[in-house]
């Protein structure tokens, strides 16, 4: 069993949740970050965006989130063109972006608070998601009382609480220590299995991408294009340590490394 290497611009699922069409981004200073990106993100799957640092992964994710305008091209979510943030997408930030003056519960409920959901209702919803990410009992704590890993769980719970169909995660575990990160990756897998949401996951770690994603999109160096899409053929219901030793996992890591090697000086 080896990792399947798909041709450029693939369209595996019939109706992708998110489509990116000809996205180009040139920053005001003249930096060309993205150059004609075409991508489909299938429904209910986790797709990882992988590429050398500074290649434009964050830029692409923010364009999809509607936080940044593209210079050219369009983003379709569920078949509709979008031009700004929307309730069907939620962002998980690399630096967590929690309100330091608000409790865990209020932070998790913040998206709902902005939408005008009544306090008792939004807190009930938030409590469920706090428990879901394993932070039960920490509802009244403040972010500065939590470890980095716990903070990111709060960020994740906030994104889950607004019940968006698409979760955009920008290197969510990069500010978290290695052990916590592994636990996080395992939890993410069961989340993907249970939630039936579409995940777009930016990372610079090959192992992480292969471990959590059913599809790994490789971006080239700036100005970025899609250089490869790899679908590691791994059964996700295995025990974590078995996945990490599985030949398909190791093959996928190796073939991605071969693809990325050319961009490393």
């Amino acid at each position: 069993m080896t990792a399947a290497i798909l041709p450029l611009a693939p369209a595996p699922a019939p109706e992708p949740m998110v489509s990116v069409r000809g996205i180009t981004k040139t920053y005001p200073g003249g930096v060309e970050a993205l150059s004609g990106i075409d991508l489909d993100f299938p429904r209910g799957e986790l797709t990882a965006l992988l590429g050398p640092s500074g290649c434009g992964k964050t830029t692409l994710l923010k364009i999809i989130a509607g936080l940044l305008p593209a210079t050219k091209g369009e983003v379709l979510v569920d078949g509709r063109k979008v031009s700004g943030p929307g309730p069907e997408r939620a962002f998980v930030f690399q630096d967590f972006a929690l309100l330091p003056w608000a409790t865990v519960l209020r932070n998790v409920a913040f998206g709902l608070e902005l939408r005008g959901v009544a306090r008792s209702e939004r807190e009930a919803i938030a409590e469920r998601h706090v428990a879901e990410v394993g932070l039960k009992g920490f509802e009244k704590r403040y972010p500065h009382e939590l470890s980095g890993g716990m903070r990111q769980r709060v960020g994740l719970a906030r994104a889950l609480a607004v019940n968006a169909e698409v979760l955009l995660m920008d290197e969510p575990f990069s500010a978290v220590d290695e052990q916590t990160r592994r636990k996080f990756q395992e939890d993410l897998l069961s989340l993907v299995a249970n939630q039936r949401k579409t995940f777009l996951f930016v990372t610079h770690s090959i192992e992480e991408a292969v471990y959590v994603a059913s599809r790994v999109v490789l971006l080239s160096r700036r100005p970025s294009r899609v250089s490869q899409v790899i679908a590691p053929d791994i059964a996700r219901d295995m025990a974590p340590d078995r996945i990490r030793r599985h030949p398909a996992y190791l093959d996928a890591v190796e073939s991605i490394w071969q693809g990325l090697k050319q961009y490393v000086d």
Binding site: G66, L67, P85, D95, L99, W101, G111, L114, Y142, R158
Partner: protein, 251 residues
């Protein structure tokens, strides 16, 4: 401070200066400095009087009114300056001029416009306090972490929601620092106002004491004022420390 390997508390130096004051006073070097013990005796004597209570009430009223206006206008306006570049360009030059201008020279202008009443005194307090409050509030909202901003946007916050629920809160440490400095300047404002405009309140007392060379009274009143200013400062220093963890909201 340590002396012979022992930690000496700050209050020790205060005691030293108090002792020096007492000695200078007892030596009758100058009529301007009466012994500290006599000043305290005088303090205990005048504080319970009705005239003092009246003056204190008058002064406190103008002070609180002026400070409230300065905070109520200065904080939102300054915080908005940090977020709205157009507003910032319009107002910042003026704020910068006024924050360091010799404001006492402007009091006669207010007087000419608003007469010799309480309004002028309250406005003098505002004039002294508001600029530093605006400047610090502006500095606070200017450096809100961009990722908090993006978070608000991505969850659909309107600009007003972002301002009220994020920017103002993220700027709280700077706002508190500004309010603390502003309230100290307001003390200056209310006394100068009362001295220059209409001799009422503490200004009136200062006037009586100094024209009659009642140095013990004068110093007693000054001690009261210093103590009040110190108390305000201490309360805000404590508040600022309580909000230390807000640092995470900055870049």
């Amino acid at each position: 401070m340590t002396l012979f390997g022992r930690r000496i508390p700050m209050s020790a130096s205060l005691l030293l200066w108090a002792a020096l004051w007492e000695i200078v006073g007892r030596a009758h070097l100058t009529i301007l400095i009466p012994p500290l013990t006599e000043v305290f005796a005088r303090l205990a004597e005048i504080v319970p009087t009705e005239g003092f209570a009246e003056s204190l009430a008058l002064t406190a009223r103008a002070y609180l009114l002026g400070s409230t206006i300065a905070i109520g206008v200065g904080v939102p306006l300054g915080a908005l300056m940090g977020r709205v570049p157009l507003l910032d360009r319009l107002l910042l030059p003026w704020v910068n001029v006024f924050v360091s201008a010799p404001l006492s020279a402007l009091v006669p202008v207010i007087m000419a416009l608003f007469g010799f009443g309480e309004t002028t005194i309250v406005l003098t307090v505002v004039l002294f306090a508001i600029w530093i409050i605006m400047l610090d509030s502006r500095a606070g909202t200017l450096h809100v972490s961009p990722s908090l901003d993006e978070m608000a946007k991505s969850y659909g916050a309107t600009p007003l929601q972002a301002f009220l629920k994020i920017h103002l809160w993220a700027a709280l440490p700077e706002i508190l620092a500004g309010v603390r400095l502003g309230l100290i300047r307001a003390v200056k404002g209310v006394i100068i106002g009362q001295l220059l405009v209409s001799v009422v309140g503490f200004g009136h007392l200062f006037e009586i004491y100094s024209s009659n060379f009642l140095m013990q009274h004068m110093w007693a009143l000054l001690l009261v004022l210093f103590a009040l200013a110190f108390a305000i400062d201490a309360v805000f220093a404590w508040l600022e420390r309580r909000f230390d963890y807000f640092a995470a909201a900055r870049q």
